[in-house]
C-alpha cells in the first residue's frame, strides 16, 4: 500500500443525462482509513456516485479526487466472473500475488477446495468471496463495495463483514453501499446520506443512527 496521503472526495460533482441531473453538485471529502457507508433509497444515486468516484463514469461537471487507479479496487454487487478457474480468475484480479499468498487468501475464504472449479460455476456467495479476496489481495488504498452482501447467506455475509473490518485495521479506506441497517450500524464509521441525486449529509455513524441531521436521513431511518 502506498504511503502517500489519500485524497478522496468530489467538488461540485454533477452527472447529467438527457437534460436530467442524476447527481447534483456534490461536494464532499471522505475520511480515510474508515468505512463510509452510502445510504439512500433506490434511485438516490448511490451506485452512480460510487462509480464516478471510482472513475468508471466521468463527471459531467465538477471533479473527483481519488488515488491513482492501481490503488483502488471495486467489488460489484453482481461480481463479474471470467471464463476460467477460480484460481486463474484470482490471478487476473491480482497478477502480482505470490502462489503462497493466493492459497492463504483462498484458505481465509474457505475456498481452497474450489480453486480449480470454473469461477462461473461457483455459488453466488463463493463468487462474491472470490471477488472480495481478489480485490483485497492487492492491498488497495481504497476499496469500493457495492452491496457486497446482497443476496448472500449468513456465512458469506459474515465473511464479507469480517474482511471489511480487517481491511479497516490495515488502513484501507472503504466506501460501501448497503440496504441493511443492522449491517450499516455494525460496519460504518461514517454515513453518506443520498436522496434523489443530492448529498443530504455526511455524518459519523453513531450520530446518524441516533439523530440524523437531514430530513431525508430521518425519513430513511423511519423506513429502515
Amino acid at each position: 500500500m502506498s504511503d502517500k496521503p489519500l485524497q478522496l472526495g468530489s467538488e461540485n460533482l454533477s452527472i447529467i443525462r438527457q437534460d436530467k441531473k442524476l447527481l447534483k453538485d456534490i461536494t464532499l471529502t471522505l475520511p480515510t482509513s474508515k468505512v463510509s457507508l452510502i445510504l439512500g433509497h433506490n434511485g438516490a444515486g448511490k451506485t452512480l456516485l460510487m462509480r464516478v468516484l471510482h472513475g468508471l463514469v466521468p463527471p459531467s461537471t465538477g471533479r473527483v479526487f481519488t488515488p491513482e487507479r492501481s490503488l483502488q479496487k471495486m467489488v460489484f454487487q453482481k461480481p463479474v466472473m471470467l471464463r476460467r478457474s477460480a484460481s486463474r480468475h484470482f490471478d487476473f484480479l491480482c497478477p502480482d500475488c505470490a502462489e503462497a499468498d493466493k492459497r492463504e487468501w483462498f484458505s481465509r475464504a474457505s475456498l481452497v477446495g474450489r480453486m480449480n472449479v470454473p469461477a462461473r460455476l461457483l455459488s453466488g456467495g463463493e463468487q462474491q468471496k472470490l471477488a472480495l479476496i481478489g480485490a483485497l489481495a492487492s492491498r488497495p488504498q481504497l476499496l469500493f463495495l457495492d452491496e457486497p452482501a446482497a443476496n448472500l447467506d449468513l456465512e458469506a455475509t459474515a465473511f464479507v463483514e469480517e474482511m471489511v473490518k480487517w481491511s479497516r485495521t490495515q488502513g484501507t479506506t472503504i466506501i460501501m453501499i448497503s440496504h441493511n441497517r443492522a449491517q450499516a450500524q455494525r460496519l460504518a464509521d461514517y454515513i453518506v446520506m443520498m436522496d434523489r441525486g443530492r448529498l443530504m449529509e455526511l455524518t459519523p455513524a453513531d450520530q446518524f443512527f441516533s439523530a440524523p441531521y437531514s430530513a431525508a436521513g430521518k425519513a430513511y431511518l423511519d423506513f429502515a
Binding site: G55, F76, L82, R83, V117
Partner: protein, 235 residues
C-alpha cells in the same frame, strides 16, 4: 452413374493410397490451414480491438469488414492476381501460380470473416466484462488478450467457419494458382477440372473426400468444444 459409385470410388482412391489424390489433399490442407492460421492470428486481435476500443472511424471499419464478407471469391482472386502479377505492385515476389499465391488469396477471403465474427463475439464478452476491465484499469493489450482467452470456445466455431470457407473455395485459387498438376492443384480446382472433362464420378469422389476432410475437422473441433464445456469454461 448411381449414387454409390462416386462414394465407392472415393474410398477406393483413399484405400489404394492414390499418390496424386494424397498430393492434392495435402496441398489443399496446407494452403487452407496456413491461410486460416494467419487470418485468425490477425483477425482475432483485430476483432477484439474493434469490439473493445472506441476510436473515430470504428463504425466505418466495422461496416467495411461486414461488407467484405459478401465479396465473391473470384473478385478476391482477381484483386490478388492484379497485386501479384508481373506488372502488379507485388510482382517482384514472383508469387503468381504458386501455393503461396493461393494462400494469400484464401487469407484475403477469410480475414474479413474471422474479424467480423470475432468482433461480434468479443463485443458481447466485452459488454459483460467492461466494468471489471475498467475497474482494474487494464491496458488495451491486456483487454484484448483476456477477451481472446475467454472467448476460446466460441473461437473454435469461428475457426471452423473460416476453414470451411477456405477449403471449399474454388474461383480465387484457380485464378492465382492456375490449377497446375503436381504444383497448385487442390481439391476444389481438381473437382472443377474433372467436371469440365466430363469425369463426373471422379469429380464427385473428390467431393466426397472433401466432405470427409470437413467431417474430420468438425469432429476435432467438436472434441475441443466438448473439452472446454467439460471444464466448465464455456458457461
Amino acid at each position: 452413374m448411381d449414387f454409390f459409385t462416386p462414394i465407392l470410388l472415393a474410398f477406393t482412391l483413399l484405400i489404394e493410397f492414390d499418390r496424386e489424390l494424397y498430393e492434392i489433399i495435402g496441398l489443399s490442407m496446407q494452403v487452407s490451414l496456413t491461410a486460416v492460421g494467419v487470418a485468425l492470428l490477425l483477425g482475432l486481435p483485430l476483432g477484439a480491438f474493434l469490439a473493445s476500443i472506441h476510436f473515430p472511424g470504428r463504425t466505418a471499419l466495422i461496416i467495411i469488414f461486414n461488407t467484405l464478407l459478401s465479396i465473391p471469391p473470384v473478385v478476391i482472386g482477381l484483386l490478388v492476381y492484379m497485386l501479384i502479377s508481373r506488372a502488379g505492385p507485388l510482382g517482384f515476389l514472383d508469387l503468381l501460380y504458386s501455393p503461396a499465391a493461393m494462400m494469400l488469396a484464401q487469407f484475403c477471403l477469410i480475414l474479413p470473416l474471422s474479424t467480423a465474427l470475432s468482433r461480434q463475439l468479443f463485443e458481447a464478452l466485452n459488454n459483460e466484462y467492461d466494468a471489471l476491465f475498467s475497474s482494474l484499469g487494464l491496458s488495451r493489450t491486456r483487454r484484448i488478450a483476456a477477451l481472446i482467452a475467454d472467448g476460446r470456445s466460441a473461437l473454435v466455431t469461428i475457426a471452423l467457419a473460416c476453414f470451411g470457407r477456405a477449403v471449399s473455395e474454388v474461383g480465387a485459387v484457380i485464378i492465382v494458382g492456375g490449377n497446375i498438376r503436381h504444383f497448385t492443384r487442390v481439391m476444389t480446382s481438381a473437382i472443377a477440372l474433372e467436371t469440365s472433362r466430363g469425369e463426373l464420378a471422379l469429380a464427385l469422389a473428390l467431393g466426397c473426400v472433401l466432405m470427409l476432410l470437413a467431417l474430420l475437422v468438425n469432429l476435432a473441433s467438436y472434441w475441443l468444444r466438448g473439452y472446454f464445456e467439460k471444464e466448465g469454461l464455456n458457461v
